[in-house]
């Protein structure tokens, strides 16, 4: 009797442990658990269920995805990776290198992904020349969000170059407002640093120094200029900024406490929730000196090798769905970004998104379309971490521009 019940227990346990081999199911690891992001994911789930593909949600909360990545690593090492996981940028290559990713090249060929995606984006999605991931959106990082009311009261104009920025920000500060709303967290420091790099050095320098990690470019006088401008910004933020979350900084612009914030287009969601309208209540312009350039941050799902044929089929269905124009539209309307897929109907998007789309197309032709290093698109985690350290340490101290450059060169070299 006892023996039998033990056997039953063991059977039940082993049944529970075997991955469900249901005909078509995708298990998707992501960290989109809040607000507009959660809505976007729910839509993908609905679309797939419409095709008979069950969705097993594997959400691990935590904005930057660090927790999710830790869980993913342990799942992958134990030989039980999810069907797809939210991975982006050069990390896709690292996973591909380790042999974990599955090719969805046949789906890509059948749906002509090469024609739908700009080359800089599709290159990121491929490992060994084969698609292993699908992009869901494109964020533009080099945005300046401004409150026109504050500018009017201070008698200032919205700056278009960094030299002009210093003049206008001074006026705003003298009028008793905070010129630059900023949260003192390493990634936010790096986001502003990136905008300065692009604005001061231009896309070509950016590409050479911060994507290709060319030591001559990093060691040039331009880098010192970048640090000088970056250092001048210290005076325009308020003393309470350390540790502040980015959306709190955005709300300072919304409330009219501060004039500007440099942040990616996810900030738009905060304005929308506060009931503000683009163009009248707030203005979105390219960060100073970058109107012809576009730092992109593309979210994507990478596909993991599956042994089960049902899971493989479901995986392909998911890949196809992600680049479908319907999903791309709804997802990006919810998230504030623009579709990764080119040539889509754009009438439902707002003016900021239109600007973003125009800049995306234009810059992809001129070479101004560059990956964001502050958001893990350009270089490995080790190198971007090293850049983070230097940028945040520099911004929070009174280090000289020359020392900043020296530290950056040393840190990047050590991390390569």
């Amino acid at each position: 009797m006892l023996k039998r019940s033990i056997a039953a227990c063991v059977a039940a346990a082993s049944f529970a442990l075997t991955p469900a081999t249901q005909a078509a199911e995708v298990e998707v690891l992501h960290w989109w658990t809040s607000g507009g992001e959660a809505k976007s994911v729910a839509y993908l789930k609905k679309r797939l269920e419409g095709q008979g593909v069950a969705w097993k949600d594997f959400a691990v909360a935590g904005g930057g995805g660090e927790n999710a990545m830790t869980v993913l690593k342990s799942r992958a090492v134990s030989g039980n990776p999810p069907t797809a996981a939210q991975i982006k940028g050069p990390s896709i290559q690292e996973w591909g290198e380790l042999g974990f990713l599955a090719s969805v090249d046949d789906v890509a060929k059948a749906n002509k992904w090469d024609a739908l995606l700009p080359t800089v984006v599709s290159d990121v999605m491929k490992h060994d020349g084969k698609y292993v991931a699908a992009p869901v959106n494109v964020h533009r990082v080099n945005w300046l969000w401004a409150n026109p009311e504050v500018f009017r009261k201070a008698g200032a104009t919205i700056p278009t170059t960094w030299a002009d920025f210093m003049v206008q920000a001074k006026k705003v500060k003298d009028a008793g407002y905070i010129a630059l709303a900023h949260g003192g967290q390493a990634w936010q420091d790096a986001t502003v640093f990136e905008a300065v790099v692009l604005g001061v050095g231009g896309p070509e320098y950016y590409q050479k120094a911060f994507v290709e990690l060319d030591m001559d470019a990093l060691n040039s006088k331009t880098t010192e200029d970048v640090f000088r401008v970056f250092g001048e910004l210290r005076q325009f933020i308020d003393t309470n900024s350390p540790g502040r979350d980015w959306n709190v900084a955005t709300s300072m612009v919304i409330n009219g406490e501060a004039a500007m914030q440099i942040m990616g287009d996810w900030a738009k969601g905060e304005f929308a929730v506060a009931g503000k309208r683009a163009g009248t209540d707030y203005v979105c312009v390219a960060s100073p000196g970058t109107s012809n350039a576009f730092t992109f941050n593309v979210d994507s799902f990478a596909f993991f090798k599956q042994s089960d044929t049902g899971a493989q089929k479901a995986q392909k269905a998911m890949a196809q769905e992600i680049l479908g124009s319907d999903f791309q539209k709804v997802f990006n309307l919810n998230k504030g970004s623009i579709p990764a897929r080119l040539g889509m109907a754009r009438d439902e998007f707002d003016t900021c998104a239109h600007d973003s789309m125009n800049a995306f197309v234009a810059s992809s032709q001129t070479g101004g379309l560059v990956p964001s290093f502050a958001h893990g698109m350009a270089v490995s985690e080790a190198v971007s971490g090293a850049i983070y350290d230097v940028a945040t340490n520099y911004f929070n101290s009174s280090t000289s521009a020359a020392d900043g450059k020296a530290q950056l060169v040393a840190a990047v070299q050590a991390a390569m």
């Binding site: 830790t70 690292e94 003192g184 309470n240 540790g243 490995s380 985690e381 350290d389 929070n396």
Partner: protein, 301 residues
């Protein structure tokens, strides 16, 4: 005794021998695997070129070289020295003074003791968050004093690179000194009354009694407190994470935060493992002399 038992040991006898071993076996096994096994695993990892996932390609001490060439690790280590020394000394001093004052047979001792011990009941995350608000210039002490009319008052250690580590000392001392007090209080209660009376008859002043008679007796309590506090200091992670997030910049990083960042956020598992080993050596450097003196002491008895 046993030699009078029958040749065949009875079931009960055998059980008596085996039962303790049987019951201890699972925990022993768990300890061996989860503690010592993983220490060896981490040590081995620190000698490999592992980045995102463990990769068993051994490269010698390269990761340690990289670790000690990293300016952020220097900051974390020197912060640990500043934090560890100040935290232990101040906690000991405050804890001892509180215990001595409480030991003066005062009236509502039970209630006061509970109040001082209470910070121990909240986690470091709660302590860190509360102190983050208290020390924030725009929300806490600075704003309060300014609102009282002292408009030039400045207290912004939390946002100052040079001073941020001291805010962590403040919060940690607030949390732990009550616990140290409890340890000393227990020690003080164990001191033989007759010794104190003898000192009084000899004409010793109260402070002389404490300094020459009572404190030397409390020596083991000092040791115990230092060992407990120093391992709290070395493994401190949550307090930094909640209070300063390692900032401004990385000015208030401690080794544990460094290790977490590099092993889990930056895909540099090798460096992370190397830093974990250095932390382990730090703990051993304190623990081994302590254990040595303890064990030698018990042999002498």
């Amino acid at each position: 005794m046993r030699k009078y038992a029958s040749q065949q040991p009875s079931l009960a006898d055998r059980l008596e021998v085996w039962l303790p071993k049987l019951i201890l076996a699972p925990t022993t096994l768990a300890m061996i695997v989860c503690m010592y096994g993983f220490i060896l695993w981490t040590g081995a990892l620190s000698l490999t070129k592992s980045r995102m996932l463990p990769q068993w390609e051994f490269v010698g001490l390269v990761q340690y070289d990289k670790l000690f060439a990293n300016p952020r690790w220097d900051v974390a280590l020197s912060n640990l020295v500043v934090f560890g020394v100040l935290f232990i000394l101040i906690s000991l001093l405050i804890g001892l003074l509180l215990a001595i004052f409480l030991d003066q047979k005062i009236r509502v001792e039970g209630a006061i003791r509970t109040i001082y011990l209470y910070p121990m009941a909240v986690s470091f995350v709660v302590t860190g968050t509360a102190w983050k608000w208290i020390l924030n210039p725009g929300l806490g002490i600075e704003k309060l004093v300014r609102d009282l009319g002292f408009t030039d008052f400045e207290f912004r250690w939390l946002v100052d690179q040079e001073m941020a580590i001291y805010t962590i000392v403040i919060a940690a001392v607030w949390q732990s000194s009550g616990f140290v007090m409890a340890m000393f209080l227990a020690g003080l209660r164990g001191v033989d009354e007759n010794l104190i009376k003898a000192a009084q008859i000899d004409g010793a002043k109260p402070w002389q009694t404490y300094w020459h008679v009572i404190l030397p007796i409390l020596r083991p309590v000092f040791f115990g407190a230092v060992v407990i506090l120093s391992h709290i200091a070395i493994k401190s992670f949550d307090l930094v994470q909640a209070l300063t997030g390692g900032g401004p910049g990385y000015a208030s990083d401690l080794p544990a935060n460094f290790m977490y960042t590099f092993a889990f956020n930056r895909a540099q598992m090798g460096i992370g493992a190397a830093s974990a080993m250095i932390m382990l050596f730090g703990v051993l450097a304190i623990l081994v002399p302590y254990l040595y003196s303890e064990l030698r002491g018990s042999q002498r008895d």
